[in-house]
């Protein structure tokens, strides 16, 4: 029995040591990666005039780099694929610790913004932050279904079933984040239309707008604008944004609604995300809107 336990202990130790070794490149990249492409926490020195916050729909819709060049303003897209409001709140908090408040703050406000869902959404996107509780996400993530204590305490184990994600994080491959302008639309493979998100499971309505207040509350000196990225015609017919329009009227916050624009299906990669043609159209429309605002000083 003793020999068995000794051998089993040695094997477990060797396996755990290997898991630690596999963790090193992830943590190394987390701390040191600070080139043109930056990670979530590398947000210092941006000081954007205009910040857009949202999920993958903001990410896919807006080319903040192009918009910055065309308007002459420093525009930053603080978006993240699959991240929800409570996580974006944390991200905004991190951004504001290192940068001044923007003059204009565009908050994505549409039914596809996953306000209060608690199921684990795109967990793979923030695996690199979990071990050692990077960015203080642990308390935040406990609220989500699929939370495991071992994600935080056992190295590498959280990459179970996700070898591709491990390679991306270990090699420091970027997640499409531009150092100066934040997330940028994907450039490759966007013409291919993906399978449609089933209409019958899509609840295209918003009941609570408390999450708008939570984001808005962090930027008291910014001018707030609600923005609705484009949406496919199939979803457009189903959408119900009564709560958002009511909020806009009651709080005197402008609503920049591109959801009502009837874009052709050829401008979407699926029902909720535009492709590169849709992104060009959206970016041009955003540029025109910002120019119309005419409230900013030319730099």
């Amino acid at each position: 029995m003793r020999r068995f336990f000794v051998q089993f202990g040695q094997f477990s130790g060797a396996f755990l040591a290997l898991l630690f070794l596999l963790e090193i490149p992830i943590q190394w990249n987390y701390k040191t990666q600070n080139a043109d492409m930056a990670d979530w926490q590398k947000l210092e020195g941006i000081n954007a005039d205009i910040v857009f916050i949202g999920n993958s729909r903001t990410w896919h819709s807006l080319d903040a780099d192009t918009a910055s060049q065309k308007t002459g303003h420093n525009i930053y897209a603080l978006a993240q694929d699959g991240w929800q409001v409570r996580l974006l709140n944390q991200k905004l908090k991190t951004y504001l610790k290192q940068n001044r408040q923007p003059e204009f703050f565009f908050i994505q406000a549409d039914p596809a913004f996953l306000g209060t869902r608690t199921n684990w959404y795109s967990k793979s996107n923030f695996l690199k932050y979990l071990f050692l509780d990077r960015e203080g996400l642990q308390d935040l993530m406990k609220a989500y279904e699929g939370y495991h204590w071992w994600d935080w305490s056992i190295p590498t184990i959280r990459y179970a079933g996700l070898p591709g994600r491990y390679i991306i994080d270990a090699t420091g491959s970027n997640m499409g984040i531009h150092r100066r302008h934040g997330t940028l639309p994907e450039s490759a493979g966007v013409q291919e239309r993906l399978p449609a998100i089933p209409m019958d499971v899509w609840k295209c309505s918003v009941r609570s707008t408390a999450w708008i207040d939570s984001l808005k509350g962090q930027c008291p000196s910014s001018k707030i604008i609600l923005w609705h990225p484009p949406i496919s015609q199939a979803l457009s017919e189903k959408r119900d944004i009564t709560a958002i329009t009511s909020y806009s009227i009651e709080h005197n916050v402008p609503l920049f609604d591109l959801g009502k624009a009837s874009l052709a299906d050829s401008m979407f990669k699926d029902n909720t995300h535009v492709n590169k043609f849709g992104s060009i159209w959206t970016t041009d429309t955003v540029v025109a809107f910002i120019q119309e605002l005419n409230a900013l000083q030319q730099p």
């Binding site: 029995m1 020999r3 068995f4 051998q7 089993f8 094997f11 060797a14 396996f15 290997l18 699929g146 590498t156 184990i157 990459y159 179970a160 079933g161 996700l162 070898p163 491990y166």
Partner: protein, 473 residues
């Protein structure tokens, strides 16, 4: 409780610790622990069906004693019928009632008589086919005088519900397992080491092979019209590996876990895809079931020592019943029938026992081209039969294979092709294991294999634990 679930990772060390460190000096306490642990293991799925196991246990425990004490053959037989009626009655009701009702209605409908009967809302208890066969073999062996009835209800309860093999086998014989339960066990390093190796290899086959094949198999069988013939053929091949990885993986984990508790269960798989003909395949696939049918059905029917027509009838009966054992669906019966048709020519030529050596290509690194051809043919035949096993109905199976010549439709994706790496790894591992060469004498190399397997399992592990296919039988 699933072997590939976090619950089992906690359950196993607790039971192991209590078994070897708290109850080791007291055999009765150790057996009671096994019994309680087994009921917890099963009840984790649905505690309500523990009553069925308890009923089967009590009936066969009492019947066993009655058979032994009965003064004459006629009374012994009467008690045996009680066991058969209870066990097959439970199995028939929970597994086959709806099948017979539906076919009864269909038969009358085809004669133009409209029948109005509704099927029953019956949940199939996990593992029912396994433990009922196990208890049946106990009563039959006592009736035949091959075994003494036990007077220890706890030991007998532990035998029926022994958690490593309760829900998906191997289907143990009382003559093998019960004496081990009634004798003191000792832990040996070799047995513990072999147990851990089997658990690791079983997990590899389940997680890396079966679970990675499953989505592509489902994709092909759910919508065969959408795919080209090459994709559908690959889908069928992947199913061959899925069911092998799933079932033999479970058996390996079961046998390995039993070893940790000092038990030796019977071998259930001996590298079946290295078989050179169908007869050899059935000596290597689900051995505990095929030998059960051989000993308790085929031989009592006369086996091969009767006239040729009767012998052929016996072969058909054993294969068809074996198919029906798997489930109440004509697809399983067709699957059994196909195997019978493949077996009969060998049987008639007297070549069904030609390839009986356990180790193929012994002492060689590779099989000969002739052996390779034989293995390829057998695998192809088995794969075609698996299509019937996997399809929801006979029509779908026919439709699936009819589309194999289609050029139109989606070709295999690169991800689907990539998935074949798992089965390729399993084949390579099995090839080395057939001569015990997977685990080198050199420690660093052996440990390298262990750790590589553990890492591959980790990176292949799905968040959603998938059930073992054979649980449904």
């Amino acid at each position: 409780m699933l072997f590939n679930s976090p619950e089992f990772l906690i359950f196993l060390p607790i039971v192991f610790g209590l078994y070897w460190f708290v109850t080791q000096r007291n055999l009765k306490a150790q057996n009671l622990l096994l019994l309680v642990a087994s009921y917890v293991f099963y009840g984790w799925w649905d505690w309500r069906f523990l009553g069925l196991i308890a009923l089967s246990t009590i009936v066969d425990f009492l019947v066993g004693i009655r058979i032994e004490e009965a003064p004459d053959k006629a009374r012994k037989k009467r008690w045996l019928w009680v066991s058969l009626a209870v066990n097959l009655g439970i199995l028939g009701y929970f597994k086959y009632a709806n099948f017979f009702i539906e076919n009864w209605i269909t038969a009358w409908d085809s004669l133009g008589v409209a029948m109005h009967a509704s099927t029953l809302q019956i949940i199939l208890p996990v593992g029912i086919s396994f433990y009922t066969f196990q208890t049946l073999s106990y009563s039959i062996d006592i009736y035949r005088g091959n075994l003494k009835a036990t007077r220890d209800p706890v030991a007998f309860g532990a035998f029926v519900s022994f958690f490593p093999q309760l829900v998906a086998g191997p289907i143990e014989r009382a003559t093998n397992l019960l004496p081990q339960i009634t004798s003191p066990r000792t832990f040996t390093y070799e047995q513990g080491r072999d147990g851990m190796r089997l658990i690791l290899w079983g997990m590899f086959k389940k997680v890396v092979v079966a679970d990675s094949c499953a989505p592509y198999v489902d994709m092909c069988f759910d919508n065969p019209e959408a795919f080209s013939g090459s994709t559908l053929i690959l889908g069928a091949i992947l199913f061959s590996f899925q069911i092998y990885g799933d079932f033999s993986g479970y058996s390996d984990i079961a046998i390995g876990t039993a070893k940790l508790f000092g038990f030796e269960l019977m071998t259930n798989f001996k590298f079946p895809y290295f078989s050179r003909d169908i007869a050899e395949f059935w000596r290597r696939w689900h051995i505990s079931l095929s030998t059960w049918f051989r000993d308790y059905l085929y031989i009592p029917l006369g086996g091969s020592r009767v006239s040729k027509p009767k012998a052929i009838r016996n072969v058909f009966i054993i294969f068809l019943v074996s198919g029906f054992w798997h489930g109440a669906n004509w697809t399983f019966i067709a699957w059994g029938g196909i195997h019978a048709l493949l077996f009969i020519p060998l049987f008639l030529r007297g070549t069904n026992r030609k390839n009986t050596n356990d180790v193929l290509a012994e002492g060689r690194w590779l099989p000969s081209p002739h052996e390779l051809l034989q293995m390829g043919w057998t695998f192809t035949a088995v794969t075609i039969a698996w299509v019937f096993f996997r399809a929801d109905n006979i029509e779908l199976a026919g439709h699936y294979m009819a589309n194999w010549t289609e050029i139109a439709g989606k070709a295999p994706s690169s991800r689907m092709l990539f998935t074949t790496l798992g089965p390729a790894g399993a084949v390579a591992g099995d090839w080395l294991l057939r001569e015990n060469k997977l685990y080198s004498e050199r420690k660093w190399l052996r440990w390298g294999v262990y750790i590589a397997m553990a890492i591959i399992i980790l990176f292949s592990w799905s968040d959603e634990s998938t059930q073992f296919i054979y649980f449904q039988f």
